[in-house]
Amino acid sequence: MINIAVTGGKGGTGKSLVATSLAILLSKNIDGLVLADTDLEGPNDHVILGIEELENQESITLFLPLIDTTKCTRCGVCVKICDTGALFMAGRAYPIVFPRLCSGCKACYYACPYGAIREAGHVLGYTYVTPVCFGNGCFKLVTGMLLEGEEHTPPGVYRTLQRALELKPELLIVDTGAGTGNAVSMAFRDSDLVIVVTEPTPLGAHDLDSILEVTDAMNKHVWLIINRHGIGDVTILETVLHRHRVEKIFRIPYDKAVAEAYAYSKPLIIHYPKSPASKALIKISDELMGWIKH
């Protein structure tokens, strides 16, 4: 299996455009392609692909401690070990649980010397597996989605990736959320290649610096895509790139067709195949195909 991630630091640079386009293009030549949308706080690959309903829903259930008061001696070990403040104990009362603060790490469960913590569950969100076909290219879209108000994104990302791996893909494309936190680095931790999408703006440059610090630290092979090339000042990206390891650089020109495709939920690559942005994406896909075969 080959694992390719699409990330970028800044939100709205075109990560999902790149990830969905590559999935459509590469699925023509690769059977068993899976696209994992790990932007759990706002998954939207299905919107770009024009999918109205996600299928095969499964719950993401996290461990939640349940205090067995017949065994609990009120020693307070669980409260001490809890890193997220989800357990609280007033004086010599039994510990109480704050479900929303619990990350499901199970440290309390293993630390309790009396076996007084029982396993309960807390539904964090859902994963979906939706078959997608465009022409003769088919792939599966795995989507992770958090329930409103949930704070613990990384365990949800982990479970979304697990669901994607269960499908035994030949090629896995991981679309990450914005940012550089654990929820993002975890998404591309096992990737063989990380595609970083940025734009020639001060915000793009700033967040590019952050994400490349992460990919450098994780020793990743990085290809860079400068999206919306033609707007802003591309030289501001150069100073950032001097400091980091990037193996290839591609450019997607600023193109009105992208906005039109978004506006009607019609994948760019299918409905505007001759547009300058599509041509650039096709070139990237061809290079990737060569890299995969190699």
Partner: protein
């Protein structure tokens, strides 16, 4: 004797009240006996650097310290629930320093 806690930055009677409860760097703990300040100590708040659950961690510390009253900004929902559970009273006070807050408390107590 009554034990009061006030969220502070560096701590002490002359420090001002920190505008956030769970994320305050320190708590100044004041023991009141017979309408007099008997003892003042400053403790570090584990909630200051916590990635999450700061309010609950702060209240846990205060509960362990035997604090009965907290004065300062309104706590967040988790800290509020933990304070209630521990039976710690909260008096909303803002814009004062620690000494002024304690003096106000002593006057109110009459």
């Amino acid at each position: 004797m009554v034990r009061i806690a006030i969220p502070t930055e560096k701590g002490g009677l002359e420090d001002s009240i920190y505008p956030r409860f769970g994320r305050a760097p320190t708590f100044t703990i004041i023991d009141i006996e017979e309408k007099q300040v008997k003892n003042v100590k400053v403790i570090e708040n584990p909630g200051y650097r916590a990635s999450g659950g700061a309010g609950v961690k702060a209240v846990q510390l205060l509960a362990n310290e035997g604090v009965e009253i907290v004065m300062g900004p309104t706590p967040g929902p988790n800290a509020y629930f933990a304070l209630k559970n521990a039976g710690i009273k909260h008096y909303p006070v803002q814009g004062l320093n620690v000494r002024e807050a304690v003096e106000a408390f002593l006057r109110e107590d009459d």
